[in-house]
Every structure is written in structure tokens, then in C-alpha cells.
Symmetry: C2
């Protein structure tokens, strides 16, 4: 006898969870499509050549590697077997790995199919990714990513559209959010302004902690990072600035008047704010200088979305990157993208009880099975209900009524149809509404119309 | 520079392929739901304990195994490293593998969640599976399976429903099919009747070749398999029987009058034919004694579906199995299921050009970008079109008209909207129909209504 279990950090999804997840993905997909994004899928496995070196040293370790098929040992000398370390040996034992995100496979896709693609290319992709992270609450070894990216266009209209997509998606979910935006060029300008150009990562990491640790600790951390007292002093108006997006941009613009890249960043943000102000958004768009995600690859806009009514981390993020495909030999292709965090959105919708009823409903009508004759009587009515689009079951076995009603209850089936001797004589069915308990003697047409009007 | 490639036997799916695949999966899903089947998903990785030994020796070799994370070598002695064979060593290097089908993970799911599940449990599951098979035309190392199963009910109504599901799915696709059905109990009865009970696999394999090699070669093969002349003689009326389903069942029933299991099989088929005759099917249901798939696990009905208008192998198959979960310590649970071959259905729909237009359409409307002022004028109209459900893009860059029109053409966008000096003065847009070339000067409301009426 085998014990039944699944690898740690992975999950089964039950029917009710699947309904909710489908609701999430379908909502996001329909908005992506409304904006002209096209879906692609890539294989779960990529060559390790594609994957390695793209996610830093830590990322390489977190890749799930696939043991070569067949006689995978033959490529190894005895000496290598005896003395090789785990990482070296893995590169001999394995040629493939599971994808770690959707961005690198997308870059590989663009390069591989560049002759067929029409640029700009607006793609979305919703697939699982795998990471050999230590599992913990809310962190899984298999989880879905839900990405939309445009490559092959520098235009800021793409940033505008991605903000609109975010705004529309969360409006449809009924989740109130704050959309945060920053610009990497402004961060670079700041690092220039205080003459600490090589400290940009330290600076942004420290500023990012402002909410958690306060200004004094941020300053202490900056000092510990090796910033001069002068540089820290110059940073103060920036760290503590407040007011509207426009006011903050004015402060930055004034301080960075001599930084070309800083001014470019300010201009970009001003354009995005201006256009979106005319279009109108449901949710607030906020310039947040402490937003410093993805600094290794983002080169322009940086996005992040926070739910207003639930305490949870970022539920969506993204930004512009200028050299997505360079590593695969196709330089100069700019892109900008957004990634929805499906697992966290799932948690937020649960916490706020925002799933619409029809998103999570299954079977609408169950016919009770009283035996072979009654079943023969019911089956044409079952077919009729289905042909009218009503999700219908007939209980397959003629077991005790109580058991069949329990099945209806546990599966949250709204209507139960019963046909015994009396109903058959009258060519009718008893239709029971399981919510209010009401029973009606109806013919097949009435049955269909009652349930269809309910929908 | 990295070469961009994907592992052999795997595929990328382009937007047009994704549209077609989504059409296939959505159609099948909607029929599953109409019959009360509920979706689940299981992780891509299962423990090797779950997977090994379930698919025969050959299957074990075809499993993709995941190298353990971290210091996976520490579990191995030098001696094991030096002298272990590939298969033994793999069991030390790997604890997890990629799922090989959806049936074993489903069995594992049922056992693991048995306390939460309401039986009978009707589930469907559409996910990729992985097999380290030698790739060839039409055979991939990653492909989707599309399964529906009921467990926890012996009732033949489940078989009836599965045939109805198959019939409805192919009706919706517009693919004419022949649905073949057989019963494992009849095959067992035949083996008993000719007193070669241990030769059932050989017999069915030989009978299965009748179409290809003819009766003489089948008999020769049976002789080579060690069947006595007498047994082969007794098989003749069975191998060469013809006529309607009822006529064939009569022949079998007469011959197997002393075989209890054989009679049971005949009864089961008669019941299924009888019920389905009353309900009515779009496609032909044919009793096919040569149908002998899955004999290792099927115990009752066996299904297979062939397309009538395209030469291709089976596009759907399934059957009843009596001990799905026994291997995981939960005996006595009967199940019956069906699996749609999405890749082959994709090929059939392509060959017959059966995709509906709206299944493969993307963006409906493209706004040409003439520059910043024109864009500012267009954006509110873009928003209006989207809020009416029209999939709309605005070209992000103010590049040459020709390039933007090429984008519309290559993406098969039906309508193009242009607004220059003149249109802006009149508060209108020029709407060009890319199919017939017609241009109209319209306001925003007219634009929306023209495109919505087209849909």
C-alpha cells in the first residue's frame, strides 16, 4: 500500500478552488484581450542553457532540474562522479529544467520566433512556474504567474495601457487598490545627484524600508552602507517629501535639475499621469519613490499594486526593461509588462467575500434516481434541460433518497427533480427548490423555464 | 550569446494556436460542466512513490524525474556512485517526477481527499502530462490530456452519460465521428469459451489487427501465440461476425451462453444501447469487438472514437476500471472515464477547417497613431470602445502609416480608426473596414454601434 501524498510546497485544487481560480484567470484574460494582448504558452521544461544565469546565483539553485533520460551516467567519468560537487554534477546529469518564471521563456520565445512575430508584440501568458524555495505560508513550489508584456515599442502609451488594465481588472474584481508607480530613471538621477551612482541599490533598498523602520533607521542604514554624511543630508528632502503626485514630481524635478536621466524619468511620469488623468481611473495612481522592485532589470516605469482593504503584500507588479532579449542575441528590444499575483488575489477575494455567485456554482439540477423505470422516464427530460444549457445530473444509482439529497446538499445543487408513480401518471415532475424548500408539480417545459429564469 | 531553442518533443503555442486550443478546451469544458463534472487540478510533480510501478516497466523509464534540490549527492555512498546502475541511482537522486497521465494523480487525489469528497465524484481535469518518449510526428514529450471520470458508482448510467458527452462534444465541433464500444467482460467470456483464459491479451491483440492484416494472418498469429486449432476454430464466428449491434450481440450471447461473465458483458452493452436509443445520438454508436484498448486496467465498457472524414488514429478513448484507488490503499472504488485527445482533435479541426470565425479572432479595432495630439483625441474613444466590449488597440508609436496598416493586416484586425486634423475638427473618426476597404466618417457612438452589430 502506497501512502498518498504530494511533494511539499505543491497543492491540489478542489472543484470549488478551481471555480474561483477560473473566475480570476478568466477575468484577467478578458481584460488582456480587450486591450489586444494575445495568449501564448511555452513548455514547462526549458533547456538549462536558457534558464541558468538569468536569476542570479540564488535563482540557479532554486531551479528544478530534470534528470536526463536513459543512461544519464555515461556522460560522467568515474573521477567526476567521485569528486564533482553537486552543482557541477547537476550540469552533467541534467540538460533541462522547469521554468522559473514566464519572462525568460517569453524572451526565448520572441528570439526563437522573431521571423514570424509582428512587432510590437503584445502577449499574455498564464502558466505555472516552479521554484525549489523553502515552502512556507503563501509560498509554494508550484504557482501560476499571469503576465502581460509588450515588446518592441518604447512608447509610454504601453505604460498607460498597463495601468488601465490593472485598474480595470481590480474594478471587475471589486477590489479597491492603490496603484503605485515609480521610475528607475528618477532613482538613477537621485544616485547621481548625491554623487553615489554605484550605491543605487543600497539607497533604494533603504528607502524602501522607510514605512517599516522610519527615517532615522533609514539614515543609519544608508550610513552603514557607506554613504557620506553629505549624501545622506542631500537625500533628506527626497525621503521625506509629501503631497500630491505633481507636488512630489516638482520637488524631484527641482533637485534633479542637472541630471539628464532624472529629468527624463520625471518627464515620463508626468506624461503617464497626464494621459491617465484625462482618461480617468477607478483607483488611485500614486507616485511612490520608495517603490524599488526589480532594480536589476527595470529601466523605466516600475509598478506595484496594493489592496486597500486587506493586509497583504503586493498583488500585482511590473515595469519596463530595455534589453529583455539581449541575452539570447537579440539586443535593443524594449519591453514593459505586468504580472498579476493570482494566489494573493485569490486570498483577497476570499477575505472580502467578493466571488460572484455564478462564478462558483456547479450543477443546477439533480434528478433523483428511483429505479430503472423512473430513470427511463426522466432521461429525456434530463436531455431537454441540458440542451437548454442547464447543468444537470441524474443520480447514477437508485440508492436511498437521503443519500441522494445529501449529494444535492453537499454539491450545493439548487434544484432537485423527483418523478415517481404519481408524477409519471400525470406526465409531470416534482421540482424542489433546495434553498426555500418549495415544491412544484411541473411539466418539462415549466421546469426548464423556472430554472432558466432563475439564472 | 545563448542559442534559443526548446527541449526536443516540446512546443511553443502561438496566439493563433492558443485561440484554437482554447476553443477546443472551452468546448469540452462546457459539455463536462453541462453534465455536472467538476474541474480539479493536481501538481505537475508527484512523488516517485506515487508514480513508479503504475505504468509498467516501460512507463517507469519514460518518467521525467526531478533531481533533488540542495546537496542531492549526500544520500549516496561512494560505492553507490561508482557501481550503481542508472535506474537504481535515479531513485537515490530523485524523489519526484512529472506526472505521466491524469489517472494516477486523480487516484492519488481521491485517496488523499477521501474525507472531503462526496461520492460519486464526477471530476474533469485538463492539464499537461510529460513522457520521455522518442519524439516523432504527432508524439510529444509534453501534451495535454483532457479527462472526465466518475468514481464511486457502478451504475451504467455513467457509461451512458459519457457516450452522450462524446456525442455532444463532437456535434459542437462539427466533426462526424463513429463511437466504438466494447466490453472487457465479453472478451473475458470469449477467452473462457475457447478455454484459453490466460490468452486473452494475445487474442484481443490479434483480433485488433483484423482490419490491418486480415483473417488469415489473425489466425496465424493466434496459432503462433499458442492457441489450439480447436480454440481458433471456435473463434471464427466471433472474428467474422457482422450486422447490426443487436445482431452481433445475439451471436455473442448465443456462443457465450455458459459464460457468466460473458453474459454480464452482453447485458451491460444491451442496457447501454437500449437507453441511448431512446435518448438519441447524433453520431453512430458501434459495438466493436476488436476494440481492445487498456486491457490491463479496463474491466467493463471500453470506448474509442474515430473521426469519419479524416484519416487519423483514435481521437477519444476510455472505459471502466474497477480498482482505481486500490494501489493507494482504498480498494473497491469503481470508476469509468473518457479522455479526449486534444492534439488530434486540433489536427482534425484544422484538416476540416471547422474553427468558427469568432474562436480565432483577436483585436477588432486598431486606432492609427498620428502623434501626441491625435492620440490624446483618440484615447477617450478607445476607452469607450473597450467599455463596450470591443477588443481595441491604439498603435503605440507614431510610425509610418504603412507599418501601422501592416500591423492591422498581419493581426487580422477588422477595423482601423483614423483621426487627423479634419476628423478632429469635426469631432469624428474615419472608420475603415479592412475586409471590404469601405471608409466612413463617424462619431464615437456610430463607431461602437457599427462594430458591435458586426459581432
Amino acid at each position: 500500500m502506497n501512502k498518498s501524498s504530494i511533494p511539499k510546497g505543491t497543492r491540489d485544487f478542489s472543484p470549488i478552488e478551481m471555480s474561483k481560480r477560473n473566475y480570476i484567470f478568466d477575468t484577467i484574460k478578458s481584460v488582456f484581450a480587450l486591450y489586444g494582448y494575445k495568449q501564448i504558452e511555452t513548455p514547462a521544461m526549458e533547456t538549462l542553457q536558457t534558464l541558468l544565469g538569468k536569476y542570479g546565483e540564488e535563482g540557479d539553485k532554486l531551479l528544478f532540474k530534470i534528470l536526463n533520460s536513459g543512461d544519464y551516467l555515461s556522460k560522467l567519468s568515474d573521477n567526476e562522479l567521485q569528486n564533482g560537487d553537486s552543482l557541477h554534477l547537476a550540469s552533467k546529469l541534467c540538460e533541462k529544467g522547469l521554468r522559473y518564471d514566464l519572462t525568460v521563456p517569453f524572451a526565448r520565445f520572441v528570439v526563437m520566433h522573431r521571423d514570424e512575430l509582428q512587432l510590437p508584440f503584445k502577449r499574455y501568458q498564464i502558466q505555472p512556474v516552479w521554484r525549489a524555495d523553502r515552502p512556507q505560508k503563501g509560498r509554494y513550489r508550484e504557482f501560476y504567474q499571469c503576465d502581460a508584456d509588450v515588446v518592441g515599442s518604447d512608447s509610454l502609451l504601453n505604460e498607460v495601457e498597463l495601468v488601465q488594465i490593472v485598474d480595470t481588472v481590480f474594478k471587475r474584481f471589486g477590489i479597491r487598490v492603490q496603484i503605485k508607480i515609480n521610475n528607475r530613471k528618477i532613482l538613477t538621477g537621485i544616485a547621481e545627484y548625491i554623487d553615489e551612482a554605484d550605491k543605487i541599490v543600497d539607497i533604494t533598498v533603504a528607502i524602501d524600508k522607510l514605512d517599516k523602520i522610519g527615517i532615522d533607521n533609514v539614515n543609519a542604514e544608508l550610513a552603514a552602507d557607506g554613504l557620506s554624511a553629505e549624501a545622506i543630508e542631500k537625500l533628506q528632502p527626497i525621503i521625506s517629501m509629501s503631497g500630491s503626485n505633481e507636488e512630489k514630481l516638482d520637488v524631484i524635478s527641482g533637485l534633479l535639475k542637472d541630471s539628464e536621466i532624472g529629468q527624463k524619468g520625471v518627464e515620463e511620469l508626468r506624461y503617464i499621469f497626464g494621459v491617465l488623468k484625462n482618461i480617468g481611473l477607478e483607483n488611485e495612481l500614486q507616485f511612490d519613490l520608495t517603490l524599488a522592485r526589480g532594480l536589476n532589470y527595470y529601466t523605466g516605469a516600475i509598478f506595484e499594486v496594493k489592496a486597500l482593504d486587506v493586509q497583504i503584500g503586493s498583488i500585482t507588479g511590473g515595469g519596463r526593461y530595455d534589453n529583455l532579449t539581449g541575452i539570447f542575441g537579440m539586443p535593443g528590444l524594449s519591453g514593459v509588462g505586468i504580472s498579476f499575483g493570482a494566489d494573493r488575489i485569490f486570498d483577497v477575494l476570499n477575505a472580502l467575500d467578493l466571488y460572484p455567485d455564478n462564478a462558483v456554482s456547479g450543477t443546477q439540477l439533480l434528478f433523483i434516481n428511483f429505479g430503472e423505470r423512473e430513470t427511463a422516464y426522466c432521461l429525456p427530460i434530463v436531455s431537454k434541460a441540458r440542451s437548454c444549457g442547464i447543468s444537470t445530473e441524474i443520480y447514477p444509482d437508485a440508492v436511498k433518497m437521503k443519500k441522494q439529497m445529501a449529494y444535492a446538499n453537499n454539491n450545493k445543487i439548487r434544484y432537485v427533480a423527483l418523478a415517481g408513480e404519481n408524477e409519471m401518471k400525470e406526465n409531470k415532475i416534482t421540482l424542489k427548490n433546495m434553498v426555500d424548500g418549495e415544491q412544484k408539480l411541473v411539466d418539462a417545459d415549466e421546469l426548464v423555464s423556472i430554472i432558466c429564469n432563475e439564472k
